[in-house]
């Protein structure tokens, strides 16, 4: 059913493009550092961390979640972009199934996100997060999981959109709220009534929580709030659902 060569070359193309577009590279490196440096440092004075725990350390898992969310959703812009500039047609007339094309885009977007997350994770020790090789490997697995879910969601969005303008709307009404209500910047428990419930509907919340399990542990105040197995189950189910929807909506074209 899948043409592995086609999937490979679609992934290769996205990586080639990524490294050729200088602006994108700069944004990728700068965005999480800006959040950590400016927002993290600014908030750390306001948030009561209950003792000697560092706020900067606390937001590290959230910033990795943000990097993956932004990178994944943005990489799926390439679908809209390809449609706008005609390249999608070159893929659509090739003798491969639509699902193959969806898988190619999914792996491409996810791989780029994992790549960025893995780089950012190297900064963690600087912020006082204890990082061992084993933890790093666990994080890699979880990042792959979260990246697949966010990219699959991005593909669903991209399959619905038919213009680049629409992506701004998506950024403001889906991606930013998803980030703010993911437990990335403040513990979900500290949120007032409707917001905490909304947060638990957000799949990214479970992804970020799984990162907290590895990086922050479960003992203390600013730590993981949900069971790890629940995080994994929710994110996996969400990913599966999104992949199916994306595949269906692409094969209708």
């Amino acid at each position: 059913m899948f043409a592995y060569k086609a999937i490979y070359v679609i992934v290769l193309r996205e990586f080639t493009r990524f490294f050729r577009q200088r602006g994108r590279l700069v944004v990728t490196v700068a965005r999480p550092l800006i959040w950590l440096g400016i927002v993290g440092a600014g908030f750390s004075g306001l948030v009561d961390t209950g003792g000697d725990e560092s706020y900067l350390k606390f937001i590290m898992p959230g910033i990795i979640g943000m990097t993956i969310l932004f990178s994944s959703v943005f990489s799926t812009i390439s679908v809209v972009w390809d449609r706008e500039f005609g390249f999608l047609r070159e893929m659509l007339v090739a003798p491969v199934s639509r699902t193959t094309i969806v898988m190619g885009k999914l792996f491409a977007g996810s791989a780029l996100s994992v790549f960025q997350g893995a780089l950012l994770l190297l900064v963690a020790p600087v912020l006082g997060v204890e990082l061992t090789v084993v933890k790093y490997l666990y994080m890699l697995l979880l990042m792959i999981m979260v990246s697949l879910s966010m990219t699959a969601m991005g593909l669903v969005i991209a399959s619905i959109l038919d213009s680049l303008e629409g992506f701004n709307v998506i950024m403001n009404f889906i991606v930013l709220p998803m980030f703010f209500l993911s437990g990335a910047l403040y513990p979900v428990d500290s949120l007032p009534f409707p917001l905490d419930k909304v947060t638990y509907v957000n799949p990214l919340c479970y992804g970020v929580d799984s990162f907290k399990h590895i990086l922050l542990g479960t003992k203390g105040t600013l730590v993981a709030e949900l069971p790890l197995y629940l995080d994994i189950v929710v994110v996996s189910l969400f990913t599966a659902a999104m992949i199916v929807i994306a595949a269906i909506s692409f094969s209708r074209k």
Binding site: A3, K5, E84, F87, V93
Partner: protein, 322 residues
């Protein structure tokens, strides 16, 4: 043997009929042209044949494979050059071609050989590692034509292959197409609204308003008009007009200040006759053989060139999710 078979193909968008029952067949190895103004249904037909669009009704087969029942099978048989550029500007020429080869599941060794071969034919070997964004329109077109033939398709579809190119580049691109046709020997199906390009086809179907109104070789279509046009300018056009009408019984058009024109069979031998028959002094005489434009004019009452405006994209499958 016919490699493309189309029977009573129809396609409507939101109740508007773009293709209204088209039937034709294309022989293997032939260059077949679809000639008509913008919006006539050319691109829609090509998109159905290339499995990018499903027809409302009718049947289309490419090399014996039904385009609706087995689109995948058809896609392995065809190469396609779209109206608009569909290259990745960020990639190099080589990378664009490599992408294509992998999408078509070609062997790695064959890939390199084939890319080198095709780049050489379109004269872009020395540009292989340059990014496409630095290419001119003509170079992009050549690269796309090379790309369309990489996987050795049995039919190459060219949708307005020279749209938006200047005349010199157009004839250049056209040279490459004929060269490729010679070396690759595949069937070419093309759409165009340029007369000179249609002339180069083995057979053409003239399409207007979603219907085929004529289908034959360019020669046969032109001779179907049965007559050459003679343009005449004299010292006294009115008198000359009356004399031609009375002497030869011909329908004469008199265009103010431009002179007379009329249609006559065997124009060359008619001119001496005309000279001896007229009593007025002749200033100039001009004979024009019928062109495809005249054929189109004759069949539809309008000129293709009148409609040659900015290219629009009817039924662009890029927006198929609407």
């Amino acid at each position: 043997m016919s490699i493309i078979e189309v029977i009573d193909l129809k396609k409507s968008y939101d109740g508007k009929e773009a293709v209204r029952g088209v039937s034709f067949s294309v022989n293997e190895g032939e260059t077949f042209g679809f000639l008509g103004p913008n919006g006539a249904g050319k691109t829609t037909t090509i998109n159905i044949l290339c499995t990018l669009l499903a027809p409302t009704s009718g049947r289309a087969t490419v090399s014996g494979i039904d385009a609706m029942k087995d689109p995948h099978g058809v896609r392995t048989q065809i190469g396609l050059v779209f109206q608009e550029v569909t290259l990745d500007n960020e990639l190099t020429a080589y990378e664009n071609l490599k992408f294509h080869c992998y999408m078509y599941g070609m062997e790695r060794r064959l890939t390199q050989e084939r890319i080198a071969e095709m780049l050489a034919v379109v004269g872009l070997s020395d540009k292989a590692s340059e990014r496409v964004k630095s290419f001119s329109g003509g170079m992009k077109r050549r690269l796309e034509i090379a790309r369309g033939l990489l996987h050795r398709p049995r039919v190459l579809f060219l949708d307005e292959p020279t749209l938006g190119l200047d005349p010199q580049t157009r004839s250049h691109v056209w040279d490459y197409i004929s060269e490729l046709k010679r070396t690759e020997g595949n069937t070419v199906f093309m759409t165009t609204h340029y007369m000179d390009e249609a002339e180069a086809c083995d057979r053409i179907a003239i399409i207007d308003n979603g219907r085929i109104i004529a289908l034959d070789t360019p020669e046969a279509l032109k001779s179907s008009l049965r007559g050459d046009t003679i343009y005449l300018s004299t010292d006294d056009d009115r008198l000359a007009e009356r004399e031609i009408r009375e002497r030869f019984g011909l329908e004469v058009k008199n265009i103010e200040k431009k002179g007379l024109s009329f249609l006559v069979e065997g124009g060359e031998s008619f001119i001496p006759e005309l000279f001896s028959a007229l009593t007025v002094g002749i200033k100039s005489v001009n004979l024009k053989r019928p062109s495809l434009d005249d054929v189109f004019l004759h069949l539809t009452g309008k000129q293709i060139r009148d409609e040659e405006v900015a290219p629009k994209r009817p039924g662009r499958p890029g927006n198929m999710n609407r």
